[in-house]
Amino acid sequence: MVNSGTEHTVKAFDSDINELRGMVAEIGGRSEQAIVKAMRALEKSDLELAEEVVREDKLIDELEKRIDELTFQTIALRAPMADDLRELIATFKISGVVERIGDYAKNIAKRVPLVTQTHHLGPISLLPSMSKIAGELVRDSLDAFARRDADLAMEVNRRDQIVDDFYNSIFRAVITHMIENPKDIGEAAHLLFIAKNLERIGDHATNVAEMVYFAATGEPMPERARGENPTTPLDEALSDGAD
């Protein structure tokens, strides 16, 4: 059963749940903003903005803690059942995943001072489009949570493929650039990490989407809706199994 929004007889339960929903929306919004700012800092070589992203990540960490505390409390005190229980479990997991998304944005921001020859690096031109889609996946996955929208959650998972395709293209372009311009290898490596961070952000958005689907329907998301992870020769060789 999907949550129909009917109120609980015990109104305090609703206010706990609403407070949690508000905090999840906030942590999602902050993470999405962190991605946008980190990428703008990269494009403009804006070190101050990059520092702001690093600084503001603390707020995201703080929010995650508060969400986890309140979720824990609510489960202990209200003994939720059915969709309420699923929603709280999803909230608990989503807060952790979204906090990771914030960490990836912070990681991008930290690389900004290390990538200075932006105009010489051809592959960098793909990053804004890639980050735009990754950011949209984060936003849509959290919108899906706010609306209990299983269809939108499935849609997020399908669209993650686009982020993966971007990553594969950038990977090839960066390798080619490295071969042609050995002096840029250091900076190009950072670009590759940034692309990988964006690819991971997309994966985490799909994790959120899978939890939303479960919270909304009580069933795991069908396998076919899940995007395949990108594989590059390097990934296969390293096989870090980080998923």
Partner: protein, 280 residues
């Protein structure tokens, strides 16, 4: 089994099989009781509407639902307790091991020995602990002598988890026990006549949490030996003790399924509203 009539030397740790084996040990998983299209009327008022349900030996079945939903009424149909209410009328089929319990040749006293019942408020007889247990086996002729009766009393109290607490004062009055002990005494009394099914109508609602936990542990231990049906208002209790849960609403069976499914992902909106506290 020991022959000591005082039974004081008997080891408590021995897992007694009981003097009267249930004969149900080789249960093949077929439903112990089946109800089909059951309707119950109190005069003109219909209290139960077309309920069909199976009760199995290997699972505890919980009936949940708001007050007046018919869960207790239905439970009482399962050993014909409703017979005692003149205006109550039952239609449909309720079978115990394939026998129609409402058939004219069914001996109701025998039926209630086979389908025992434990009530909300502990109701021990105003007699000794020993006689509370021995009463049923005596009237049903289950024991031929004092030794055999002693054995039944001891094994029933063992199974009900009460033996250790009362073995030295079997002649004390049953009503002198604490509420939780009285309830376990009532369960022991039901067990003493070797039932196949035990019906429990809110057995813990008058008990404190510790006595409640003991009854729940007892239910867990009795599972598999008897088919157990429990009516409870406490949904956490239903979730804790049962493997199957049936949700009743306005006299109909709304949803019946695995307890884990009912409490994590119910199919019906009414069930969802009730178990999540959105009812009414």
């Amino acid at each position: 089994m020991n022959n000591d009539q005082t039974m004081k030397t008997s080891s408590e740790s021995v897992n007694m099989t009981g003097p009267e084996t249930t004969g149900m040990a080789t249960d093949d998983g077929a439903p112990k009781m089946t109800a089909r299209h059951v309707n119950v009327f109190y005069g003109d008022k219909q209290a139960i509407n077309d309920v069909s349900i199976d009760v199995n030996m290997d699972s505890v079945t919980a009936f949940i639902g708001p007050s007046g939903c018919g869960k207790s009424t239905f439970l009482r149909c399962m050993n014909r307790m409703n017979d005692t209410i003149p205006i109550a009328r039952v239609t449909g089929d309720i079978m115990l091991e394939g026998e129609d319990i409402y058939a004219p040749q069914m001996d109701v006293v025998q039926l209630r020995a086979r389908v025992g019942m434990v009530f909300q408020k502990p109701n021990p007889f105003p007699k000794s602990i020993y006689d509370n247990i021995a009463y049923g086996p005596r009237i049903h002729g289950l024991a031929t002598g004092k030794d055999e009766l002693d054995n039944i009393v001891e094994s029933s109290l063992q199974r009900a988890g009460l033996w250790g607490e009362v073995k030295d004062r079997l002649q004390d009055s049953g009503t002198a026990l604490s509420g939780g002990q009285q309830q376990r005494l009532c369960i022991a009394r039901a067990i003493a006549v070797d039932p196949e099914v035990i019906l429990m109508d809110e057995p813990c609602s008058a008990l404190d949490p510790i006595a409640t936990a003991k009854i729940e542990e007892l239910i867990h231990e009795l599972r598999g030996k008897y088919a157990i049906v429990i009516v409870t208002h406490n949904m956490q209790q239903a979730a804790r003790v049962s493997q199957k849960t049936a949700f009743f609403h306005l006299g109909t069976l709304v949803e019946y399924g695995e307890t884990t499914d009912i409490f994590t992902n119910p199919r019906e909106e009414k069930t969802r509203d009730y178990i999540t506290g959105r009812y009414g």
